[in-house]
Amino acid sequence: MSRIGVFVCHCGENISRTVDVEKVAAEAGRLFGVAYTCDYKYMCSDPGQNLLKKAVAEHKLEGIVVAACSPRMHEKTFRNAAKAAGVNPFLCEMANIREHCSWVHEDRDEATAKAIDIVTMMVERVKRNKKLQPITVPVTKKALIIGGGIAGIQSALDIADSGHQVVLVEREPSIGGHMAQLSETFPTLDCSQCIMTPKMVDVVNHPNITLHTYAEIEAVEGYIGNFQVKVRKKARSVDMAKCTGCGVCMAKCPQKKIPNSFDKNLGFRPAIYVPFPQAVPNTPVIDRENCTWFKTGKCGVCQKVCGPGAVDYTQEDEIVVEQVGAVVVATGFQLYDIGPKPAGSAIEGYGEFGYGTIPDVIDGLTFERLASASGPTGGKIVRPSDGAEPKSVVFVQCVGSRAREKGISYCSKICCMYTAKHTMLYKHKVHDGQAYVFFMDARTPGKGYDEFWRRSIEEEEAVYIRGMVSRLYQKGDKVVVMGSDVHIGVQVEIEADLVVLATAVQPREGADTLAQKLGISYDKYHFYSEAHAKLRPVECATAGIYLAGACQGPKDIPDTVSQASAAAAKVMTLFARNELEREPIVAKVNERFCVGCLACRKVCPYGAVEEKEIRDRSGNLIKVVAYVNPGVCGGCGTCQATCPSKSVELDGYTDEQIMAMIEAL
């Protein structure tokens, strides 16, 4: 390529004040291959761009160097202008003589000399630039949602309503997640199940949603628009097609004393069970660890009583393969456990609170089950130890959260509000009871939130004590709470009937393993990382994977639903087109010279490199070479720097271009 135009911008006076732009243009004109140069006050303005287009036409320019600001500022502008003028946009480069030159140097001669060097380097580069065409990747218009809590349900419904297919995978036997466990929700105190269960039913009835419950993600391969997902459907031991959900099996199961984890182990369930009466799907599963048939080979009651003959002890795990174009991760949270520190964990338990051995010290979610009308007590608030009605309840906030010494420094965000809600629910049910709250700060930003909190103090008479709790211990049938009131500077001791700890919100166990399968990044607590904290809060850095809900960080229901809908909108944006267009800065393998050592595959952070067999016409294997999938390649070029024979080259940053720049010095 030999007809290059160099356009030197004054940027008002930003460049011309320290750089002699006319001299730069004149010197550039002496470079071999430069056919046209000029300088102009504002190259990025409309007249400036028109000047460029006109010059391309008049001088038959084949390459363009705009010496102006940083390419991070206006590369797109000038590449679009080049495209409009009929020049491949990748033959247009910017020489940064503002941020890297005129703004950082004062000496006019030195700055001008440097600007000439910068322009020379870019001219040499452009001579070796190749025309590149945008890459298109087909898009499978089907989304995978991982997690069937409110986040996953919202995303699934939004995407399905837009007319696209959705696969929803839930680990538990029923969708619903934590929201199904809650009693009432702040700040309106409407019943959680009343607003949640209709949505759960919508999911199962939606023609565009395929629901896999009691299932986990086994493996994920592929890339944006083209993921292959293996889902392991755990053996339910009940045929979903035959089961009518009549519940006779559950009623007749002789093994009835299994703590119900949905009720935070306050109640019991049989070995064949649905987690809660409103479960979706309403098909029981057999808990094989506790089932007498699976433990001893004797019993078989459920099979005998099942009218449709749905109980099947021989069922095995099934692997379902789904082809999807986008993934929404909505795996939610779990509550921090104050028990002793698990091996290998950086997070400490609370020895001063008895490591969770005091029966009347419970966490917030357990309180939700106690207060829930569909809970094990039918909504009656009682103490776990003796079933008595607690007359004084102490709520302790920031247990685990904002506790650097315990290994967690973040704020769990939802506890201030739900503790306020708990004091109200308590007062509504135990009119003569007294609620105390130990708190560090009340964090109540949100519509109607602060008013709600104030109400718990002013109308529901909760006593808020600013200070930390240092110790909890059993004394008779009471739990003694030792704390401090920092406002009046005294030690406080309260003999409580029940203590509720607002424990920290943590990512689900196994969040890291799932992230590794998906190839997404996570922080030190295992919350998933968004691509940009402010501007891309629902996307992962890995293209085609989106985040919704508390798996990304602690969130309340409104925020979770908003993010879930946002993730759905991102998926729909992706699905709005049949093909995905991306910048062609990708690596390509020279199959003639590749010897297939696959060092490139070893270093590729995207898993974009595959093996490719080269065969002759009769099908004999000639050799195995590397192949870079352009849809997956992120364009970092680590492969090229690693390849000993440089048989893989990153378009737009080839060795030839870079060597030319280095040699131009």
Partner: protein, 167 residues
Amino acid sequence: MHTDKVKHDFEPKIVALVCTWCTYAGADLAGTSRMQYPPNVRVVKFPCTGRIDPVFILRAFQKGADGVLVSGCHPGDCHYMAGNFHARRRFAAFRKLLEFVGVDLSRLQFSWVSAAEGGKWVEMVTELTERVRQLGPLTEFRELELAEQWSGATLTTPELKEAYQAI
């Protein structure tokens, strides 16, 4: 902060090989913040430090650079997740090799400069420029470039010398 410029006898040539996401952006920030630094540096932009082949460093020295600065994202900040981790090992090995061959490593600086560290960029460029200015020109590679004798044969006779000069 206008200071009187000191004229130096020797102005080193510094080549900076930087990644576009962090250090290039950091250098942009130095510009938008109107910080000042020696004009000796010439920047070559890469997508990622992972793309930077040691051959480029070698080539820069051979083609007249007196100092080379290689800079990218801090570990964990790589736009491509792991490019800078691979680069870190590659450079750790390469600098050992250069050292063994007898290259003065104070002419080769590696750094992590994030997009927010305009000040650090200025510091890196200034430091390296000052240091290399103290060291003087990198003569070793330049002498090699000029050296013509091979196989131990030298231009001993006047006839040979004359013939050689005439080429």
